[in-house]
């Protein structure tokens, strides 16, 4: 997030797109609800009539995968109606003329055709966002899990640049990160293109720095993404270490994913349970769990916070850093002689400019947001207040593209996937916590009641849902949250593996899977 969570109570206009916040980030959503109660206006754009809509002043029911069109239409209106922050555009941005020329071609009527949202509502949303002093954008995977995920994000950035809604209190571009430490995993350099602190692996200066720090030669060539790696299992890639990820349930195109892991010569999984993925491994290493582990997490607002153990580890479980240091030792490597989580974290702070001013003791109360480059630095709750990292904010010239697969006679229904409040991801933890099944005991497919009738289904009965990649059986739940022609399910239950169906395409820039759009066919099935 460019802005801190506390800022969520301060915008005059809130624009939420592709974020089911009341279920996925409930505590953040409470802040938006408070802002609304205090007079802020909220716009929600989502294919489904999610819980957040109950608090919204304007709901834009966009067709799955049509975000770029909506955002181009809004940009057009902001320019057309004179709501551009001229001073900001002049002083802080570039590629201005080309951009304003470009968006002339995308009037709201055009956007209405593609998105299914009335042009008047697109205009209203654009005006509400453009005319206030403090407008803020919030998004989640509904924006990124598309073949055009990067375009979606850049379309949002264009809106913020046009209006100058960035770098100030109550504004910003705010992705809500999904996992407790997904931000941290990237910060720490678990990326094929970056060392810790997002330092590029192809930069010779960075290479020299790490060779000096670590005392070994490091590679100047980028690695491949996990998605590419799965494609190359058995070919280029022979051995894999997977830490705490249930790949064969969470990933798209499960059949492909399972086959990929089977083709490896050597698979090592570190986890707290024998997940579906761990069960395929040659070696399974028992890791300590949350509640048993000291360490550090960084949340969605870049706040660096300490984790503390409350109970001793179960059985012989060990912290991940320990088992990696042992592996390293056995491979004859040096530089892994850590005695504690503190040692590892302090080493990270040494090598990462974003954390350079932090250390284990300094983050005791969690008051710092990175970047914190030196010991006198207070951290930065709000990014981009003075300038952008690369100088000026660049307007991007974007165009709408269809999803990788679109509905057809064979697969006439849009499936979109997501999460539900009581279950977390593949449910390995929430599913093993007492009582959660009282609220959610199985996966169901949300189908609009009129479609249930039209398609010859019945509420609570089984149906078969197929895509180009496979088919699964799932119980129907009549529910008007999804619009007609669009159905919804989560991937939290391994016995209803929705991700067998997904995986039609990937964003070419990031390899992020298009989990939010998958054309399917749905048939009643009478087998119990």
């Amino acid at each position: 997030m460019s802005n801190p969570l506390a800022d969520m109570e301060k915008p005059q206009t809130i624009f939420c797109i592709g974020t089911n916040m009341t279920e996925c980030h409930p505590v953040a959503a409470t802040r938006l609800k408070k802002a609304v109660a205090n007079g802020a206006r909220m716009i929600v754009a989502d294919p489904r009539r999610i819980g957040l809509c109950d608090h919204a002043d304007l709901y834009l029911p966009i067709r799955v995968g049509s975000d770029v069109a909506l955002l181009l239409g809004m940009a057009h209106v902001i320019a057309r109606d004179g709501l551009v922050n001229e001073a900001f555009v002049r002083e802080r941005t570039t590629q201005v003329e080309e951009f304003f020329e470009h968006i002339k071609g995308f009037p709201p009527e055009w956007a209405a055709e593609i998105t299914g949202v009335p042009a008047a509502d697109i205009e209203k949303a654009a005006r509400w966002y453009g005319e206030v002093e403090r407008g803020a954008i919030y998004y989640t995977l509904g924006i990124t899990e598309h073949i055009c995920g990067v375009d979606n994000v850049q379309s949002l950035c264009n809106l913020a640049l046009m209006t100058g809604h960035i770098g100030r209190e109550g504004t910003g571009i705010n992705p809500m990160r999904g996992q407790n430490n997904i931000q941290g995993a990237g910060d720490c350099g678990a990326l094929p293109n970056n060392f810790p602190g997002f330092q590029s692996v192809i930069d010779p200066a960075v290479q020299a720095k790490f060779e000096k720090l670590w005392g070994v030669k490091v590679d100047l060539e980028k690695g491949c993404t996990k998605v590419a790696a799965l494609d190359r299992c058995g070919d280029e890639i022979k051995a894999m270490l997977i830490c705490g990820e249930n790949t064969v349930v969470s990933d798209p195109n499960l059949a492909h994913c399972r086959k990929a892991l089977e083709r490896l010569d050597h698979l090592v999984v570190a986890d707290i349970f024998l997940t579906e993925t761990a069960a395929m491994a040659d070696v399974v290493l028992p890791a300590t769990s949350w509640g048993e582990t000291d360490g550090v997490n960084t949340n969605t607002e870049r706040r660096v916070q300490r984790l503390r153990a409350a109970v001793p580890p179960v059985g012989e479980a060990k912290p991940d850093w320990w088992l990696l240091s042992e592996l390293a030792k056995r491979c004859g490597l040096r530089g892994f002689e850590w005695q504690s989580a503190k040692d590892v974290f302090n080493e990270l702070c040494e090598v990462s400019p974003l954390y350079h001013g932090l250390d284990w003791d300094r983050i005791d109360t969690g008051e710092y947001h990175w970047p914190c480059p030196d010991k006198d630095h207070p951290g930065e709750p709000r990014l981009h207040s003075e300038g952008f990292i690369n100088g000026r904010g660049v307007f991007k010239l974007l165009d709408y593209r269809d999803p990788a697969e679109t509905v057809s006679d064979e697969f006439p229904v849009w499936l979109t996937t997501g999460r539900r409040l009581p279950a977390y991801h593949t449910h390995t933890q929430t599913g093993r916590s007492a009582g959660i099944d009282y609220l959610l005991s199985e996966e169901t497919l949300e189908v609009h009641p009129d479609d249930v009738a039209d398609w010859g289904l019945s509420d609570g009965e089984w149906c078969t849902m197929s895509s180009a990649r496979g088919s699964i059986r799932i119980k129907v739940q009549a529910n008007s949250c999804s619009p007609r022609g669009t159905v919804f399910a989560s991937f939290s239950f391994a016995d209803t593996p929705v991700n067998i169906l997904t995986g039609g395409g990937y964003d070419p820039a990031t390899d992020t899977a298009e989990l939010k759009v998958c054309p399917v066919r749905i048939e009643a099935s009478f087998r119990a």
Binding site: V27, G223, E236, A239, L241, N299, E326, L439
Partner: protein, 354 residues
């Protein structure tokens, strides 16, 4: 500058502040029952009353705005006697005053005040207000309304903090009852089981059903401040352990990301840690094709051996690692360093692409 005098001390304040807020800053310890700093002041319990010079009746300090030149006394004999009587009355309406601290964050408030004002006299014979909803079998929240004192903190936290409006108040006086629409179970309404009503309840009338399973476990409750393991909001929590077992979670009121708020996952989905499915020892796949328990030495040798063999036979890019977005920094840092230092490759990623 606007100032007032509290117990003989001059205090400056910003217009709009209540007497209670200023007194708190001045460390005058005014007792409260219906007050939760995160909610709009309600002025129902009248325990926070103070004397204001020139005003005949005592004033509820949590709702009264300060004015310039005000002279306030927070603990005169009259005021203290009034508080004691109030607490005697409140205590008399409840089945019990002393409840297990595992019931919730604020569950000890009433008992502590009763002790502070020496109000365990049994001078009044109260008629119990509220009726327990023993029929609500939800696994998270015990609704023991025999202990309800009608402070409405639960109703207010649900509406103001959560924006959920899942519960409301019916009737007044002794007939007061906190209810869900149509008298149903919490599940039948809009309740999200965030547990906020439990944690603000000052008597334990609303209780954490999962935590109180551990009431009989011996030993003191030990607390550790950590961060919720689920989404990226990063809510701070205090874990409660008893005898080496995790027994409950309390929201951290001073948690920078959440300021005391939690959702169902952070509040109630903690006991996976002790689930019998937890891996307790390393496993290796043996000749029979099955995974078998093994020593750390065997497992680590096998794991490291496989990586070195791949590198030696197929080159440095043949080894790949995926770090977790769920494990702490130390795990991710160690994974990428292992790959980069050990194999001179950048074949590492995390699970953010799905």
């Amino acid at each position: 500058m606007t100032t007032l005098t509290i117990d003989g001390q001059q205090q400056s304040f910003t217009p709009g502040e209540t007497i209670y807020e200023i007194a708190e800053r001045a460390h005058a310890d005014i007792p409260t029952l219906c007050y939760d700093p995160r909610l709009k002041a309600f002025g129902a319990c009248r325990l926070c009353v103070v004397e204001v010079e020139g005003v005949r009746n005592p004033v509820a300090s949590c709702t009264a705005k300060a004015t310039d030149g005000m002279v306030v006394r927070t603990a005169t004999p009259t005021i203290d006697k009034h508080r004691k009587t109030l607490l005697e009355l409140v205590a008399s309406e409840n089945r019990e005053v002393d409840v297990d601290p595992l019931r919730g964050y604020a569950s000890q408030e009433l008992a502590m005040l009763v002790d502070r004002y020496d109000a365990r006299t049994g001078r009044f014979r109260g008629k119990a207000s509220g009726k327990s909803q023993e029929t609500d079998q939800n696994p998270f929240i015990l609704r023991d309304y025999d202990l309800c004192i009608s402070c409405y903190r639960c109703v207010r936290v649900c509406a103001e903090q959560e924006g959920d409006h899942a519960i409301s108040v019916r009737n007044r006086g002794f007939e007061t009852q906190i209810t869900v629409e149509f008298d149903g179970d919490l599940k039948s309404g809009t309740c999200t089981f965030c547990g906020q009503c439990v944690q603000t309840c000052p008597t334990g009338a609303l209780a954490d059903r999962k935590a109180i399973r551990a009431t009989e476990l011996p030993g003191p409750i030990e607390k550790a401040r950590t961060v919720c393991p689920y989404c990226g909001v990063g809510c701070s929590v205090d874990l409660q352990a008893k005898g080496g077992k995790l027994v409950g979670v309390l929201p951290a009121m001073d948690g920078p990301a959440n300021e005391g708020a939690l959702c169902i996952k952070g509040q109630f989905a903690f006991d996976f840690v002790q689930h019998p499915d937890r891996l307790a020892s390393p496993l290796v796949r043996r000749e029979d094709g099955e995974l078998h328990p093994a020593s750390w030495d065997e497992a680590l040798d096998r794991a490291a051996g496989g990586f070195m063999k791949a590198r030696d036979m197929h080159g440095r890019h043949s080894v790949y690692a995926v770090a977790s977005g769920r494990a702490p920094h130390e795990a991710a840092y160690a994974v990428q360093k292992f790959i980069r230092v050990g194999f001179m490759t950048n074949q590492v990623d995390n699970c953010s692409r799905a």
